[in-house]
C-alpha cells in the first residue's frame, strides 16, 4: 500500500511541477516585457528596492511548510533567472565563452597559425643584448620555433633588481625575429610600453602580476594586436576569462596562458594547474598556452610538464632559453641552454611534431 500511496503523492507532485513551470514561464514573459520597456528608457534592469519589496511581501504571506529563509532563497533564484532574461546576452554569454562562439579561435600572424597545431614560444627571460637575441633566435629558428620571446621591461619584486633593458629591447626583439623568419612576443607593463612595443612586437604579453590591471588591459585592446594574457598566480579560471573579456572588445586574437598558481608546496616555484588546459579550452574558444618555465622554476621537470601540457591539449608552450643561463640577469635557474633545449625538444617530439631537435 505504501508504494501506491507514494505513487499517488508523486503524481500530485508532478502536477504541481507543471503548474510551477507554467507560472514561471508566464512570469518570465512579463519580466522580459518590463526589461524591454526599461531598455527603451535606459533604466537599469536590476532594481534592488523592487526585489526587497517582493521578498518582504512573500515572506509575510508564507503559509509554510518552507521556512522564510528557504522562500527567500528560492525566490532570489527566480529573480536571478528573470534578471538574466532581461540582461540577456550581455552578462551571461561572455564573448570569450564557447556559448558565444562554438568553433576554436584560430588566427594567423604572418605565416604562423595560432590555435591549430601546437607551437613553441621560446627565448630568453630578459633581453640583454642584440648578440644574445641573435644567437638565441638563430638556434631556435633552426629547431623550427616560430615565436621568439624576450623581456624588455621586467616586473621585479625588488626595486633593486635588474629592471630590463628598456624600450629599445622591443626593437631589437622585433628586428631579430624578422631576420630569422619568426614573430615576436614581449611583455608590456603600462600604456607607454604598449605604445613602444606595438611597432615592433607581434603579440603583446600581459604578465601574471598585471592580469587584473584593467587599465593596462584597456590600453592593450586599443592597439588591436594579438595579446597573450597570463593567469595571475592566485586568479581563478573565471577571473582569467573575465580579464580576457576586457580585451575582446579590441581583438579576439587572445591567447590564455596558464603559468602556475601559488600554493604551499616549496619544491616548485608555482604549482602548474594542468586542469586549466581542458577547462579553459572547454569554457572558451580561445587558444591556451602553458608557460612551463615559470610554473616549474627548475629545469629538471620542464620536459615532463611540457609533455603533460601537450597531452592535455595546450595550443602553445612557452619555455625560456638563454645562450648562457648561468650568466643571465634574471631567472638564471630556470632557463635552458641550447643543448638542454635540444634535449627538451627530443623529449616532447612525439607530442609536438612541429618542433625538431635538429
Amino acid at each position: 500500500m505504501t508504494e501506491k500511496t507514494i505513487a499517488q503523492l508523486r503524481a500530485r507532485v508532478n502536477e504541481i511541477n507543471r503548474q510551477l513551470l507554467d507560472l514561471l514561464a508566464a512570469r518570465g514573459a512579463l519580466v522580459r516585457e518590463i526589461g524591454q520597456v526599461k531598455e527603451s528608457k535606459a533604466l537599469d534592469a536590476f532594481d534592488p528596492v523592487r526585489e526587497g519589496e517582493q521578498l518582504a511581501a512573500l515572506v509575510a504571506a508564507n503559509p509554510g511548510p518552507f521556512s522564510d529563509a528557504t522562500i527567500k532563497r528560492l525566490f532570489t533564484e527566480i529573480f536571478r533567472a528573470s534578471l538574466d532574461l532581461m540582461t540577456g546576452e550581455r552578462d551571461r554569454r561572455l564573448r570569450v565563452s564557447r556559448a558565444a562562439r562554438d568553433a576554436d579561435t584560430v588566427f594567423q600572424i604572418g605565416d604562423v597559425t595560432v590555435g591549430a597545431a601546437p607551437l613553441l614560444v621560446a627565448g630568453p627571460c630578459s633581453i640583454e643584448s642584440e648578440a644574445q637575441l641573435d644567437a638565441t633566435a638563430a638556434h631556435l629558428a633552426s629547431r623550427g620555433v616560430k615565436i621568439l620571446r624576450g623581456g624588455a621591461h621586467k616586473p621585479r619584486t625588488s626595486p633593486y633588481s635588474f629592471q630590463g633593458i628598456g624600450d629599445v629591447g622591443y626593437r631589437w626583439l622585433g628586428e631579430t625575429a624578422r631576420r630569422h623568419g619568426m614573430i615576436a612576443i614581449s611583455e608590456v607593463m603600462d600604456d607607454k610600453a604598449v605604445a613602444a612595443a606595438a611597432p615592433w612586437v607581434d603579440i603583446l604579453q600581459i604578465g601574471a602580476r598585471n592580469m587584473s590591471n584593467f587599465r593596462l588591459l584597456e590600453a592593450a585592446r586599443e592597439v588591436g594586436k594579438p595579446v597573450l594574457l597570463k593567469r595571475g598566480s592566485a586568479a581563478t579560471y573565471e577571473e582569467l576569462l573575465l580579464a580576457a573579456e576586457y580585451l575582446i572588445a579590441g581583438t579576439d586574437r587572445i591567447i590564455l596562458c596558464e603559468r602556475g598558481i601559488r600554493t604551499f608546496e616549496p619544491w616548485t616555484r608555482n604549482t602548474l594547474d594542468i586542469s586549466a588546459v581542458p577547462i579553459l579550452r572547454g569554457a572558451s574558444h580561445l587558444p591556451v598556452c602553458v608557460d612551463v618555465s615559470h610554473a616549474a622554476g627548475r629545469k629538471d621537470i620542464l620536459a615532463a610538464l611540457a609533455r603533460a601540457a601537450l597531452a592535455a591539449g595546450a595550443n602553445l608552450l612557452m619555455v625560456e632559453v638563454h645562450p648562457a643561463p648561468e650568466f643571465a640577469l634574471s631567472d638564471a635557474r630556470q632557463q635552458l641552454d641550447f643543448g638542454e633545449f635540444d634535449e627538451f625538444c627530443r623529449d616532447i617530439a612525439d607530442l609536438c611534431p612541429l618542433c625538431t631537435a635538429g
Copy 2:
C-alpha cells in the same frame, strides 16, 4: 505612460509570485508526506532517479522563455528545499550547531569551568621527564594556569624524529597536574592511546593531522571524556564542525581548536585564521580554543596572536612552555621559557583576567 505600464506589469508579477508561493507550499506539504511514508519504511529520502525523471519531464515541457538549463537549475533548488524538509533535523540541524542549541556549551572539569571566562592551556610540546613536567606545572600553577598540556606520543612527519616518551607520559602528566591542582590534556593518536590516556588525562586531544581520522573520533567518543579537536591544516570550518559531529554522540564536552592553516606565506609556520573564532562561535555552541604556538611557529608574535584571539572571543588559548626550550626534543623554536611566559601573561593581562604574571 511607461511608468504606468511597468506598474501594471509589476502588479501581474506580484500576483504570479503569490501563486508560485501557494504552489510551492502545496508541493512542500506533499513532499513532507512522502518523507513520512518513507521514514516509516526506512527508505532513503534522497532518490536521484526520481529527481532525474522529474527534471526530464519538465525540460520536455518547457515552453520558454527560460532556457532548459535555467529550468533545471530552478527546479533543482526547489527539490533541494523539499529534500531539506524531508531530512529535517537530521542533516540540516547538526547537533553541534547553534540551530540545535542556542546557549553556549559550558562545562565543568573538576573546578575548571570551560566555555565561560578565557582559560590558558600551557605546558611543554613533548613530555620528556617527570622533573620537566613538575617544574613546568609548578610555574604555570603559580601564574593561575589551570590546564596542563604535554605530548606523550608525538605525531612526527619523519619516522626518525623523536616519537614521544610513550604511554607512561599520560600517567606522569595526570599525576603532575593533580599535584598542582590542575587538569591535564594530551594528544591521542589511536584507540590504544585513548585507552592508555583515559585513566590519567582529563581532556583527550585530537591533533590536526587526525581531524579526519574518523576511526579515532569514534574511539574517542566511546570513552565519553571531554575532547579538544584541532582543525586540520587544510580543513574547512564545515569539515571541522562535521568532525565534531562524529564526537557529539558520545560527549558534548567538545572544544574546537583553531591552530593555523597552510598557505603560501613562508614567514609563519601556519596562517592563524582568526575569523575561525567568531565564525565557529556563531555557527556552533561549542567553546573555541586557539593554539597560538603551532599557528605562529615563532615566539615573537605569540602575545600579539593571543591578544587577537582573546579579543575575537576565544574561550581558551593554548601555548607551549618548556623549562629550557633550547634543549627541547621537539619544536624548540616555538616554546616559551618561564620568563618569556611571564612576559606573555603580562602582555595579554588586560584581555585575560584569570591569568597573572605573578
Copy 3:
C-alpha cells in the same frame, strides 16, 4: 675514557672553529676592499662567473669528507655573506625595514596623526553621489572618524560591472571630507587617476590587485603624497615590503594594509592573516592598517576581526559604511549601515578609545 676522547676531539674542533673565524674575517675584509674598488668604477658587486670559477676550483680540490654538494653549499653561504658586505645597506637594509629606522614612522596629515593611537578609515565602497557621501561623512564625523574613504574608480573583475563614478568622485570626496573636518582616501589605478586624485585626496590608495603594478607604484611616488598600500591576495609579507620599497624613494608616509589572503576556505571572502600585523610592525617602521570589510566579505564577524586587529597592534582599521547597503552599487553584502556602524563602534570601544558610538 670515551668522555675524555670526546673532550679532546672537541678541543681540537674548537681550535679549528677559531681558525675558520679568522680566515672568514680576513676573507670578508678582502671582499669589502674589492667592493669599494668596484663601486668607484660602478661595476656590479655580484659576479656570477667569478663565483662559478671559485666553486669549480674548490670542488676540484675537495679532499673530503664533505661531499662536493656540501662544499658548494657552504661556500655559496660564504659568498652570500660576502656579497652582503659589498652591497651593504643597499639590498639588505631596505629603507622600509626596522633595520633602517628603529622608531615607528608617525606622520601628520592636517590634524590627523597616523601611526600613533588607532584610527578608523570608513566610508562607502563606491562613491555614488554627493548626497550619499555627505550623509555618510556627517554620520562618521559625529562618531569621531577622521578619515573618509570612497572609491571613484572601481577595479571590477567583470567589464560589465559598475566601474565607478569616475574622476569627479575624487573632488566630491575631498570636498565632503573637508566640509566635515576629515581627510580623504581613495584608490588610484593608473597614472591618470593619480593626477586626477592628487588635488583632492589626502592619501592615495593602491589596491590589492595593483600591489605589484610597479608602474603605478612609480607614478604614485612621484606626487609625494601619503600612500596606503594593500597587500595582494596572494602576496607574501616580503613582497609587500618590497612593493613599499618602490614607494619610499618618493615618500615615507606609507601605510601597509592587510586585507585578507586567498585560501581554500569558502565561508569567508578572504582569510584575514592576523599575523601580518605583528610581523609587519616588527619588520618595518611603517604603520599597519587592517581592512576588515574586504577580509571578511560578511558583516557578522566585522567587529570580532576589528577587535583582533586592534589587540594585535594595528594602527588603522578600514571598514565600509553606506547609508543603505542593500541598494549599494558594489559589495552590498559587506557594507554596514549607520546603525550597524554604531554597534560596531560600541563593540570595539574598549580597544579603540578615539572612536565613539555617539
Copy 4:
C-alpha cells in the same frame, strides 16, 4: 690599474678559500670521529648545548667585518653539514629516495607488473553489492584493466553520509577480482580494517585523509602487503616521502599517489599537481600513480588529466567506474559509466597501450 688590484685581491681570496676548505675538511674528519665514538656509546649525535656553547664562543671572538648574526648563520651551516656526516645515511638518505636505490622499483603481484608499463586501476568509488562489482569487473577486464578498486569502508566528512558496506566488501572485491583475472585494491582506515582486508585484497590503500595517520602506516607495514599511499590534500612532497618512509621498513612495494591538492580554485574539486609526477619519480625510486577522479571531481576533464599524467610519466592511473553513476551511493558526479569509460580509454590509447576500448 683597478683591474690589476681586483685581480690581486681575488688571488688572495682564492688562497683563503683553499685554507677554509682544508680547515673544513679537518673539522669534518674530527666530527666524524666524534660521531663514531658516540655511536659506539649510543649517544645522540645532535647536541644542542654543545652547539650553543660553540656559537657563543665564536660570537664573543668575532673580529668583524661580518655581523654576529652572519657568523652564527655561517657556523650553523657548518654544524649542520657536520651533523649530516655523523648521522650519515640515517636521515639524509631516506630509503625511499633515489640516493638509496638508483633503479626504479618494479614489483610483481600475480601476473601484474607494477612500475613498468602504465597500468589502469579502476572500479567503483564504493562497493555496493556483489552484482555491481561483478558487472564492473567484467567490463573492465574485457578492456584490459588488471587492477580492480572499490571502497568497503568510506571515510566520509559527515557522520550521516553512507559509510561503506563494511568488511564484507573486502571479500567481495577480492573474490570478484580473482574471478576476472584481476588483482584488488581497497582502502583501509585502521588496524582492524587492515586485518579484515589483508586476506582478500592485494594492495592496501591509505587515503589522503590518513597520509599522516602514522599509527595506520605502522599497522599497514606490519602485514607486508603492497601499499598505495595517497598524498594528503595539503601535504608537501617531502611529507609524502616521509610517510612512505614509515612504510618501507615493512615493504618496499609502495605506490605513491597524487590525487590533487586543495587550492582556492572552485571549478575543480582539487588541483591536480602534475609536477608531482616527475618530481616524485626523480626524488624516489617508487612507482607513481595519479588518481584523476578525485583530482578533477568532474567527468569532462578526466581524459585530458589522464593523458597529462601518462605523458608526464605516471606508472598508474586511477579512475572511478560504476555501472550506473547516477545511482551511486557516493561521488556520483565523478564516476564514469561503461560507455564513458570506453571513450576514456580511446582518448588515452596512444599514451597507454596496455588498455583498450574493446
